[in-house]
């Protein structure tokens, strides 16, 4: 292809991790690549030949922000492998811990990373200077999530209280009541976020018919299930994931890239809402009725709106769960029924499906497969980035910087988490 215009974003700002974007506009169309330049992580190898308890302590280090999903999902895989049946209290506390992570992640993404795009500011600091209330709302909601993870998981990053079979330590009723009060206070702030995102129209260039994959929740809208569903009507148990989901590699990226039915697909808040909106209740259901036109399955910018709706629902759900848990009772962790077995688990991390497969022999992990949501949606994201660039180019936009800003917004709408591993301050 003869390239007419090259657009390069060496460092994609305001996402989790390090990646760049390359867009080539040529006579045959537009090609887009997301270059993930962070190195391979090797967690699937590091955890082999380790006792399952040790492996479960290592997996959360994959990501400091998604540490809770990377704790609770492998725990579930171990429990399925060894036929461990945790108590109802444990299941509810895990649900609460997980929802805390989702609320924190969504708040961070929407208020600190995305809102500057919508308001035309360079960063969250500029937003805070102009509209401190908006950023305060975001930091409060982020705090709600962090408090939950600290109270239930023992600390806000890399929670250790959640263990195979149960919990090491439990929160007091007083702590849970404090969290419930914070969640209550957060609901109206989250509603304001939904109202905020409902003020913006989505760019039409990225209206592309797409597949959405999510879990089919056990009962209420949430993060746990063992079956995956798509907006095409497909449905399969997590044990069959290899028959439906493929991962490929690209020479320009360290990240794997997912395909579903041999096609790109989307996962995340929008996919969950598209596939499971009938399970939304309370204020979130009311908001969905009021703003149903903003849940457009074919446009990735609707993911931001869906995250805001989820914050409302999950805050109400957190309040309910705390009521259902009552006074936590110290329990002995449930024990394995066998020493060896295969376990499959799928949950909904903030950014979408998270799959863990583990083979355990005599309590030792011998094989692991982890598929993360960002790996799943990368090809679809590239397709949307190319569509955005092509649309702007066709409409006469020739300024590379402007096109670059728009394609960055597309990437950020997906809320990608490239690796969450490195942190340094630059002088």
């Amino acid at each position: 292809m003869k390239v007419t215009k090259e657009i390069r974003v060496d460092h994609l700002a305001r996402i989790e991790g390090k990646a760049g974007i390359e867009v080539d506009v040529g006579d045959d169309g537009v090609e887009a690549k997301l270059n993930v330049t962070e190195g391979a992580r090797f967690f699937e190898v590091i955890t082999r030949n380790k006792h399952y308890n040790e492996a479960v302590a290592i997996f959360p280090r994959i990501c400091s922000f998604c540490c809770t999903p990377h704790k609770l999902t492998p725990i579930e895989a171990v429990e399925r492998a060894l036929d461990i049946q945790p108590s109802e209290q444990t299941r509810k506390l895990r649900d609460l811990l997980y929802l805390g992570n989702v609320v924190e992640s969504h708040a961070l993404h929407l208020y600190l990373l995305v809102v500057p795009d919508y308001l035309g500011y360079p960063d969250a600091f500029a937003v805070a200077q102009k509209d401190g209330g908006l950023v305060k709302d975001g930091l409060f909601l982020k705090d709600v999530g962090a408090e939950i993870q600290t109270a239930i998981g023992s600390r806000s990053i890399h929670p250790e209280s959640a263990i195979v079979g149960g919990f090491g330590t439990l929160p007091s009723r007083r702590t849970l009541e404090k969290i419930a009060a914070m969640a209550e206070e957060g609901i109206q702030k989250a509603v304001r976020a939904v109202d905020f995102f409902a003020e913006y129209e989505y760019p039409q260039y990225v209206d592309i018919k797409r597949q959405h994959l999510s879990i089919k929740p056990y009962d209420v809208y949430g993060v746990y299930g063992n079956t995956m569903v798509s907006n095409n009507g497909d449905q399969f148990p997590v044990e069959d994931y290899r028959q439906h989901l493929a991962e490929e590699v690209a020479p320009y990226s360290y990240a794997k890239r997912g395909l579903f039915n041999d096609q790109p697909y989307m996962v995340g808040a929008l996919s969950r809402v598209v596939n499971n909106d009938h399970l939304l209740t309370g204020t979130a259901q009311d908001l969905m009725e009021r703003y149903h036109q903003f849940v457009t399955p074919d446009n990735p910018f609707a993911n931001n709106f869906a995250q805001a709706v989820e914050m409302v629902f999950f805050l109400e759900r957190i309040r309910e769960l705390i009521q259902e848990i009552g006074e936590p009772v110290q329990e002995k962790p449930a024990q394995p029924s066998r020493a060896s077995g295969e376990g499959y688990a799928v949950t909904e991390a903030p950014r979408g499906l998270l799959i863990y497969y583990m083979n355990i022999e005599d309590h030792v992990v011998t094989d692991v497969d982890v598929i993360t949501p960002t790996a799943m949606f990368l090809p679809m994201m590239e397709k949307d980035i190319a569509a955005m660039a092509e649309g702007l180019w066709r409409d006469g936009m020739q300024d590379g910087d402007t096109i670059a800003k728009k394609v960055e917004m597309v990437a950020r709408a997906y809320d990608p988490c490239i690796s969450c591993s490195v942190h340094v301050t630059r002088l």
Binding site: E16, A128, S156, C420, V422, H423, L427
Partner: protein, 144 residues
């Protein structure tokens, strides 16, 4: 004192190392926040003095060099945009928190240890020495 960093990523472990050295016996509350400066708002309990310690990167600083900024310098010298970083930079994060937290410490210090590598592996001897210097400096600051 608030320590930042990732103990599993090369020399970005320096903040965690300082935290481990000071967590017991320091004359102040010592907290490790991983890679998220925004969690300061969760752990802040109205203290007057805040000392933040983290790895820093600057091409012209030799590895292990300790830098100390105080007051307005903290907000002027730390670049707003983090490079190779998770989330937002510490400078940007502290500025946002100063604008949005109901109370913010009046006496803010930043102690940085210059690092060069963020891959896998251990801290270099130079950075490990820098961490010890940072511990000594922070002990003085916390004891004043």
């Amino acid at each position: 004192m608030v320590a930042l960093g990732n103990p599993l990523v090369g020399e970005d472990a320096v903040g965690a190392h300082v935290y481990d050295s000071l967590r017991d016996g320091a004359e102040a509350r010592v907290v490790f926040l991983g890679t998220d400066v925004f969690r300061l708002s969760n752990v802040y309990r109205g203290e007057e003095r805040l000392v933040v310690v983290d790895a820093v990167y600057a091409p012209d600083l030799e590895p292990g060099r300790v830098v100390h900024f105080q007051g307005a310098e903290v907000f002027e010298r730390l670049r707003d945009v983090a490079v190779d970083a998770h989330l937002l930079g510490v400078g940007e994060g502290l500025k946002i928190l100063r604008l949005t937290m109901p109370r913010f410490p009046s006496d803010v210090h930043f102690v940085g240890v210059s690092v060069k590598t963020f891959g896998h592996g251990q801290m270099s001897p130079e950075v490990a020495q820098g961490a010890e210097k940072a511990v000594a400096l922070i002990q003085r600051l916390l004891g004043e």
